[in-house]
Symmetry: C2
Subunit: 456 residues, 2 copies
């Protein structure tokens, strides 16, 4: 099935840019599909380039008769020309509305009739198209994928309809204070950089886009040069080479890298008042990204600070000890142009200031002293021990490989990250926490009401 | 990791009772973890009973060194005594706050130190506890599971704190009009029956619960009699028998079945007006459940009506042809006490009446004429062809087996459902659609604004 509730899915993908997508952006290394650690070299992915500039990665796994395919195109929201908000999202949504050989609904029917699941999504750096198919349908799946991405019709009636759909979805999503907080936070943290472009666009931006702009965006950024195609599952190299035939004729321009983010942010705070019983707090700063040698140690420090479930400091201090929030967390997020640290909590209006102060305090404390030996040991034990459990499907494997390859970390990035985590010492994590947590550069956003609720 | 954002997860699980949970409730049969169809008997699950009244199901799969465990207890929201809303949710949330041997946070730390992922959830019929672990930790995982479920401390300070957390989460979730619509719809469709109890409870109900009520609920409904334990993955029967030792001493009372739902509903319509640009529409009626011999045919009819992605009639009429909604769907949902059909859409206020009329029209049309030959062929092709893709993880396999076993369909229910779908004829689907779609009994809820938005 394809995009069963297409815009609901899109909505979910977009209204949570700072939580689930961030998790996807994070590197949680894994070697789930291999029977045990250490992983034999033959169970690592194999990568090669096509003449058209695309990188192909194959991760063989013959446990089930299926393949998971990910195509990452350099067509994320950060590619939108200034003032053209929503262009990436509209272009992706319109892919599914008909291609040259399968106009209109025929395209969806073609996927469905083969039992192929296909969908797409837009992030900061990439537009991703995902396909899951039985391996016996892999050749047809790849042909349909090439057609979907390469020859969309952009029928004017569909353009108008999808603009209406996306605009309504965006309008509705912004009625959720968490989404509004995420939007405000993104705009401030990344101000002046293309990462400030919201992958969901804006209500006004979506309404203002034209078919010509969409066609131009497609022509320029839906290009095999710099694109990454990952195939994980039940296929060998000779068969995959046959499947790739439909991509042979696909050509496109090379696109320049997005300018780097600065590695510091300007501290500021903003509060938006709404008629709500609860408040949403987001704070963070720009910092190193996943390509930095210090990243594994920073990842461990963040795990201990706010990324580690029930045992993280933030959750312990804010939720367990004081019952101030029903959600409190932190994470690292990064893309090709740079990285950021983000912490957040949801709390009652009455305890908003207290929760905000505690979030700041825990960031300061981690920067100053780093973790304890006990926290460090537990984190390393968890992060190395849980890899297989954290990556137990072809889809997760394909996602991780694709992101690492696209970000220049290599297709075996997840495995190398695991090795880096294993080799860390407590002193390294402390030094990196001191160096790359920037409590003096915190950008903070609060969306919430002014009135305390009448019942607890 | 355990319950990384525990209450966010819980919130998501609860604010979407009518969409994702419904999908989980639906039977989408599958035989993903077996290499090809037809499935050899040895690749079917094996079930047996323990002396304490619990059913154990083993689904062996040695592809990865992992196990997925599901424990379904007859402790769903429908078990709450009248006037004790929120009791099931509070009891489940408190399981994770400490047990006899691991008080407070030590319980979570014990799971985390083994890299075990564990969480719980409350539905109408069941409280479910899920564990994913490396198979080499399976014995310890089962011991921790037994301890978590069997000996929670219900520390008074934790009770107060979790009441605050759940209450705040519920209050916040109800600020989402979709959640409010789902709550109103559930209350009307199931009025007078325990299925009207919301698995998330109510803000007032959660605040009013006492520790004594929680302890009593735990004593009465956290019982092995009628419970189902499914283990899918890398373990054989002799090893599993050893893992089950910690459950040996667990005893508990037998609980009576929930009274059956009637098989008809009283038509009615309700509109709640809010300051919103969009409207949420839900409508449906009581009908047969998954144990009815007509269910497979009704499932196919619903797939064609509104369950089939881009090619469903509802999505085609409302979204593709008219651009009225960015989400439009229907599904069947059922539990041990009976089933229901539910359709929904989200649309602009200005087109709410038109979308509502179209939903009703398509239900009437399916009841009157059933599907066409072409629609029937495509649906059977998709539903039989996509099974492996729809069920490609141990977790999905364990979920499906557990629900079918708990609902009395047998542990091999998913496989038998596939065979039933394969054997259907168009005439059967038409007759069943006529018999079990009840357009004269529609219960409808709308939550939305009165003002059309100023931009499209």
């Amino acid at each position: 099935m394809i995009r069963r509730f297409p815009l609901v899915g899109l909505l979910l993908a977009t209204l949570l840019p700072l939580v689930p997508l961030a998790q996807a952006d994070e590197t949680t290394p894994a070697d789930a599909v291999t029977p045990s650690l250490p992983t034999a070299p033959s169970n690592r992915p194999v990568a090669w380039g096509l003449d058209n500039g695309m990188t192909v990665v194959l991760m063989e796994n013959h446990a089930n008769p299926m393949v998971a395919v990910r195509l990452l195109l350099p067509a994320g929201a950060s590619r939108e020309p200034e003032g053209q908000a929503g262009l990436a999202a509209l272009t992706e949504a319109l892919l599914w509305e008909g291609s040259h050989d399968h106009p209109g609904l025929e395209l969806m029917q073609a996927f469905e009739s083969l039992g192929i699941r296909a969908n797409g999504g837009v992030g900061r750096d990439t537009t991703t198209v995902s396909v899951t198919a039985l391996s016996r349908e892999g050749g047809q799946a790849m042909a349909l994928l090439a057609e979907t991405v390469g020859t969309p019709n952009f029928d004017p009636a569909d353009v108008d309809r999808i603009k209406g759909d996306l605009g309504a979805a965006r309008r509705k999503s912004l009625e959720d204070p968490d989404t509004e907080a995420a939007m405000l936070f993104r705009a401030q943290l990344f101000a002046g950089h293309p990462y400030a472009h919201d992958p969901d666009g804006t209500v006004e931006g979506i309404a203002a886009r034209s078919r010509d702009e969409i066609v131009a965006f497609h022509n320029r950024f839906y290009t095999p040069q710099g694109a990454v195609l990952v195939v994980a599952g039940d296929v060998d190299r000779p068969t995959l080479d046959q499947w790739l035939a439909p991509l042979d004729g696909w050509k496109g321009p090379l696109v320049a890298p997005i300018p780097r983010l600065p590695n510091w942010s300007k501290p500021q705070a903003q509060t938006a008042t709404r008629d709500l019983s609860q408040s949403t707090i987001l704070m963070g700063f720009l910092t190193i990204d996943r390509g930095d040698p210090d990243y594994p140690a920073l990842y461990v420090a963040n795990y201990i600070l706010g990324g580690g479930g029930f045992t993280s400091r933030i959750l312990h201090e804010i939720r367990e000890k004081r019952g101030l929030a029903y959600s409190a967390y932190s994470y690292l997020t990064g893309g090709n142009a740079g990285g950021a640290f983000i912490a957040g909590a949801q709390t009652k209006n009455a305890t908003r200031d207290e929760a905000t102060a505690l979030l700041r305090r825990e960031i300061v404390r981690m920067a100053a002293d780093g973790p304890s030996q006990e926290e460090f040991d537990a984190a390393i034990r968890y992060l190395t021990g849980s890899f297989p459990v954290q990556m137990d499907t072809l889809s997760k494997v394909a996602d991780r490989i694709a992101v690492d390859q696209f970000q220049g970390l290599g297709a075996d990035g997840p495995w190398r990250f695991l090795e880096q985590i294993r080799a860390l010492t407590l002193d390294q994590v402390r030094a990196v926490a001191r160096k790359h947590f920037h409590p003096d550069q915190i950008v903070a956003i609060t969306v919430g009401g002014t009135v305390a609720p009448s019942t607890p």
